[in-house]
Symmetry: C2
Subunit: 192 residues, 2 copies
DNA sequence: TTTATAAGTCTACAGTCGTATACTTGTGCG
DNA sequence: CGCACAAGTATACGACTGTAGACTTATAAA
């Protein structure tokens, strides 16, 4: 139990955003309710509405904040000399069983069934990641290759964490990295 | 408007299953309501409950039926001598803009945020596809490689159809095939 | 200490959800 | 034709959804 917060609009706003991030990551856009989000921040549902205007705007702000700090595609990975292997290792590590699932992708995947959430997610991903990754690629079809990188990341995360395929959940991390690395390498470094 | 069906339990059951398949593919497990499904079959919501016991059991039966006939991993593709290229072509074709999105994967992706639906989906995918694909692979780590094939298929479908990434939606199909083919080939044919 | 105002809450509404109980109606058989 | 039984419907319940309007309360300045 965190100590009761004194009346502080900025701190309360931040607490709501934090609670919303966890709720959306756990249950997706449709599955997370305003009352649940509000309770997590120690306030009432109405305050959430008043602060963010609507659930949709709250979701947009959460996604924006979460995607501001990339994980799999961190600048460290992107500037590495072994980007394929580093991406594979980062992805496998971040989707391990007990890992904190508070990634922007997690929220996006769990919310993709809602058209409104999908639209917001697309805008955000195209504003940030696409430019980021496509800019780091050389050769042709950089936009398409970057998009397929996202697809592989998203699909792997989905099958491993959400669906929970046994073959991915129980595999040795090193094995998964060895299988993923050449795929990422091929996409990132371009055709041989 | 289809002509009114005479009282026929088997036909009604089939109509409900068909309507449910469309509804789940469009909105996912949580997003599709029993009343909507019932209306699509020209009956009331209660009849759906009576015939299938619960929404969860209905979903399981729908997924089971839909996944009985694989599309991307059809026997034709699996027996091809150019499996990587054929998988890529099948995937790109099936996720084209106007394509019928009535695949089992579509339902699964839109429902993965619901734990109950995810559990059912995992069971189904492991019962059918995993065995199917892993059996067609040679070499080591066949289960893991098959699972990553699913991940790539799922991620591509998600990013192209659900999120609607511009780079994938607007790309020339042939370009996408050329990028995906070596990835599938590497997974299917095994490490070089 | 009083008070203006921002911070936060209460109550309510119109809607949806899945499903349980009780009911009506159509249809094939004798 | 009549009737039994299956096929299908009506109504309702309790819980949940996002959010609108009116309300209370804490706090910082005067």
């Amino acid at each position: 139990m965190p100590e009761a917060r004194r009346r502080d609009a900025a701190a309360t706003r931040a607490a709501i955003l934090d609670s919303a991030r966890k709720a959306f990551a756990r249950a997706g856009y449709d599955g997370a309710g305003l009352r649940e989000i509000a309770a997590g921040a120690g306030v009432t549902a109405m305050l959430v509405s008043r602060y963010f205007g609507s659930k949709e705007k709250l979701f947009a702000e959460v996604l924006q904040g979460t995607m501001a700090t990339p994980t799999v595609l961190s600048s460290q990975v992107l500037s590495s000399s072994r980007r394929g292997a580093d991406m594979a290792a980062a992805l496998v590590g971040l989707t391990a069983r007990g890992a904190v699932p508070l990634d922007g992708f997690q929220i996006l995947l769990r919310s993709a069934s809602s058209p409104r959430a999908a639209r917001i997610g697309r805008a955000e991903i195209e504003k940030r990641y696409s430019r980021l990754l496509a800019g780091a690629l050389k050769g042709r079809r950089t936009a398409e290759r970057a998009a397929i990188v996202f697809a592989l990341v998203a699909g792997f995360q989905m099958m491993r964490q959400m669906i929970g395929l046994t073959a991915l959940a129980d595999a040795k991390p090193k094995d998964l990295e060895r299988l993923l690395a050449p795929l990422f390498a091929q996409l990132v470094e371009g055709p041989l």
